[in-house]
Symmetry: C2
């Protein structure tokens, strides 16, 4: 009997027992193995079109696009997942890969969106173009919920359709002339958007792109770069709690980072999309650090707090105090980008965001976050008990598992082949991720439990 | 008694009589002069911050941003409108400026969005990240509704949060190395995004930006450029029915355009956001022209069809047949941009889009469009009867009024000052718009009638 068959036949059996009686994870009633509604298959356009045509325009392909390696990481994983499902049509694949939320959005939030939707059919409730920067009430609520007493005001907040889109808009703002640093490993959108904008050189295997300063984040340095070895760049992308390593920088470390940026005259783009997942008492915003407003932009999102990955809502904070070298306020240029290249987030999503920040909404979000944090504990415990060195998890919904000396893609492939569980290969996040695999805690409880059961089977 | 007072005091009187008894425009029951819910005030960040700080980063401001003139057009108009409202706090300002939809979205569409919202609270109805390219059903519906028998397939369609965002993503795709042509006048996002990407030279008053090929569209050439005088460029932005002139290119003209692009090896970016407003039997898509798929991208939107300006939903078609000079498919690079710089349109908005394309939705959209077309007729009749040369209107919701020898901004200012009606100065759309004012037909019927009454008062 093959591994595949063994796994398939055991699916209906309860798999929560393995944690022992002393652990009581809340289990929501839910179906296991719901068929994916939106398989994220990046339908790459055929390079050999069915209709043969000799005609080509005389427009040169953007050389920066040609520098990009393969597809964007997550569509690439979706592609491999889809190929796997073709190979094993009966396998019950569990995705702990993409970091995609799975739990329903609390009703207090969806009711507000439904109400706004219905309202759009009435004279009183209809609204057309909103401010590109977002609705005033939402900007104010974001400022007071996340940045109270940090010197951030409503008009420093730019509401968006998500942090990923804002990262690209920030790159367009900076232009092709800047240099940039990233944590290595890091969320691939920082590097890829930098390549697209022409800020980098060519890609070199095992080294990454030329002109990018990769700040190594390893178990040895506690996943915080040794800044004394980092060269000056114009822009520093910094994500904490970190995707993919799951580690969160301490107040002391962030103070070092702000100091480093100030000495070098750099701008930090601080991604705090997982801030509410922290268990430790680390800063939730870069603006908690004195001087932060003079050196940093912060981007964040409702995606992982309220399950808004499909609804699309985020924000970026550009403080008035942040200036280019000629004294021109960065916020003024970002405002121009937002007005020219964007037309505001969906008004319905914005109503949802406002509901998220009501007292009931905040409580409901905390419950969703708490649920995923319990998933994280299950995954951490599983890999730890199997003897792996496991990082992250405590302050972020990602578990960073070490497979020393092995290729990430090979480990990814083996896990997928033998357990039908999709993870993310660490090297997809940069050269520094080689030898690691990221396991996401976003999943239905029963699926997380089942995946962990399969991990135990594979690595026992 | 000042003009201002005269207008204010007469507001409650019926103003529909002036059209005479032989015209029967449908008048929807509605309140006049609803207070604007989202005054589009572009809160420009103060250049003199209250908190004095000497610190500046060492990051150079993107030189392309510095090339941009003033603010993006529409926020600039919103700013002037706000200033006017401060000056005349009791004036009842009517906006026929921005082109912002005012009529409620048909219930068949909002119900679908409300249902999707509620569904997100359930295990069965929840969905996280969708495909960056859009939901399969919606892509298929767009392909079959707008491109049946034109050789465009579901996977050629990229669903987005609106045409404006897609225009910027297309510019990022092309990069800084391309040259571009635009109709002059044209929707400002084409030129501004080109400037931001570094495709242009500096701005020269009365001439526009260096390196941009301005294709003059005037009453003399029927608002279709004389292509024999147009220099070759890599990219040609072409909007038909046109914003702002309201004219639509004929089949013969579009055939010339495709031929021109083919001879030059250019890529046409065809903006068809107003296609359903056409009364004449012109092509509604560039792909109706033989060879179009080898030379053109098309972008469009639900904004003006279904009142989705605030909901945010559009799409871009990149045919497989379109290739860069090295044979690489443009769609493949656009797919990479969409996957890296965007995370898909809001799932709720996409449910709305799908409802728009149901038989009931299509009928409801036609009714909304019909309503605005009646507004257009009222405006055209008003200016025509006042002796102005009036263009557009028949095939688009914009009326292009000629004020020969006058400055557009001055005419705009005079109309605002004396009638409290916001229009759009033609020169805001490029040097070729000087001497014109664009009057938008998007407005509540009573407001359009009242605005026209005031125009008659001013120009009698």
């Amino acid at each position: 009997m093959s591994m595949n068959n063994r796994l398939s036949t055991s699916i209906s059996s309860s798999s929560s027992a393995f944690l022992g009686q002393d652990r009581h994870f809340k289990i929501r009633p839910q179906n296991v193995f719901l068929p994916p509604k939106n398989p994220r298959i990046c339908k790459c356009v055929a390079t050999t079109p069915t209709e043969k045509t000799a005609y080509m325009t005389k427009v040169s392909r953007n050389a920066n696009m040609a520098k990009l390696q393969a597809g964007y990481l997550f569509p690439e994983i979706a592609r491999r997942r889809a190929a796997h499902m073709l190979k094993y049509p009966d396998a019950q694949v569990i995705s702990l890969g993409i970091g995609d939320t799975t739990e329903p959005i609390p009703e207090v939030i969806t009711s507000a969106m439904a109400k706004r939707s219905h309202g759009l059919s009435t004279i009183e409730g209809y609204s057309g173009y909103g401010a590109e920067q977002g609705e005033k009430l939402l900007r104010a609520a974001i400022a007071s919920t996340f940045y109270a007493n940090l010197g951030i005001e409503e008009d420093d907040i730019f509401v968006s359709d998500g942090a990923k889109s804002d990262i690209s808009r920030l790159q367009v703002l900076f232009g092709s002339g800047v240099t940039m640093a990233v944590q290595d490993p890091s969320y691939p959108a920082y590097v890829d958007s930098s390549v697209i904008m022409g800020q980098t050189g060519q890609y070199q295997k095992d080294f990454g792109y030329g002109k990018i300063e990769y700040m190594k984040c390893t178990p040895e340095n506690g996943f915080f770069p040794d800044l004394s070895t980092v060269s000056r760049t114009d822009v520093i992308f910094f994500c904490s709690p970190n995707n993919p390593t799951g580690s969160a920088a301490t107040r002391d470390q962030l103070t070092q980072l702000v100091q480093f940026a100030k000495e070098n005259g750099s701008i930090i783009v601080y991604d705090s999309a997982y801030a509410l997942y922290m268990s430790d008492d680390n800063p939730k915003s870069i603006f908690e650090i004195p001087g932060g407003r003079e050196v940093a932009i912060e981007t964040s999102s409702f995606s992982k707090y309220a399950g808004f990955t499909g609804v699309r809502l985020g924000w970026t904070v550009v403080p008035k105090e942040l200036k280019f070298s000629d004294g021109f306020p960065v916020a003024k240029d970002f405002n121009r980008i937002v007005c020219t290249c964007f037309n505001g987030a969906s008004n319905i999503a914005q109503s949802g965001g406002l509901a998220c920040l009501s007292p009931e909404g905040l409580e409901a979000m905390q419950e969703v976050i708490g649920f995923y944090k319990e998933n994280t504990e299950i995954i951490v415990e599983t890999f730890t008990s199997l003897g792996f060195n496991v990082y992250g998890g405590k302050n972020a919904p990602y578990v960073w598992v070490h497979f020393p000396g092995q290729s990430s893609w090979e480990v990814f492939g083996e896990i997928l082949e033998k357990t039908h569980v999709v993870t993310t290969p660490g090297s997809g996040f940069g050269p520094g991720g080689e030898g690691f695999v990221r396991v996401s805690a976003f999943g239905h409880r029963a699926n997380v439990l089942e995946a962990c059961r399969r991990f135990r089977e594979l690595y026992k």
